[in-house]
Symmetry: C2
Subunit: 162 residues, 2 copies
Amino acid sequence: MPRSSLADIDCSIAQTLDVVTEWWTLLILRNAFHGMRTFDAFQEHLEISPSVLSARLKKLTDRGILEKRPSSTDGRSHEYRLTRRGLDLYPVLIALKDWGEKWVPNGRGRRMELIEKATGKPIRGAAVLSHDGRPLDPWDVQPTAGPGADDKIRGLMRKASG
Amino acid sequence: MPRSSLADIDCSIAQTLDVVTEWWTLLILRNAFHGMRTFDAFQEHLEISPSVLSARLKKLTDRGILEKRPSSTDGRSHEYRLTRRGLDLYPVLIALKDWGEKWVPNGRGRRMELIEKATGKPIRGAAVLSHDGRPLDPWDVQPTAGPGADDKIRGLMRKASG
């Protein structure tokens, strides 16, 4: 029978997708990385229905990616802040951005420039690095099963090396 | 009215999500990066229904991420190979994997080890790099509107710097 959920697939990619795969979830995170914090700001900027936004923010809070806390400027309202777990999604967001700028451009130039504050220079973007920090291409890397691999992952790795 | 598609959001992240957000799509790509090439191999490994798999492979082929061509071993069948455009999704996949291993571990150790072929050492993983290759954290980077930004992106950037 076909699956309808990723939760039972013991793969690190599937487990991450189970949390962040939904469109709105990643766009909410994009805005959070840009410093957006309040329900009203997310709702206005994303043109998302309040009920969908509530559900997505609840999921992100339940999964420990956002933290809901009293507003720093208005004690009666709340704001949503990225946790360490959420901040660790930064390379995912930047890798998605890099690919979109390169392969789905809008013909008017880059939509967004990411500038390193310390140097004022545009960043290079997301890359896969070797142990000593050299950028690697897919064909430079051999996937192998780790100690936590289940039979499905082991099967995939055998194909990869076969 | 709430949106039902990402296609009209002119943001490089949204445009990438519009292509790769669907669960199966990213798991098909995961397997393709591991060297899987045939319909039957994808179907058997992912336990996905043939009709869903067909639709996903067609979408990936239509978007130029996979290329369908005659099998190198059996001229009557076909295989699916990553294009340059598809290979460029590698940092997205590795960033998803890194996060899942760190934040959704299975308690038995790493599911997968990625070894650099040239050195035999485990890779460091995905990172966001400065212009000269130093790893950056989210708070090191200032997003600004580029020449291709529309009003929505400009609004987001103003919040980011405000």
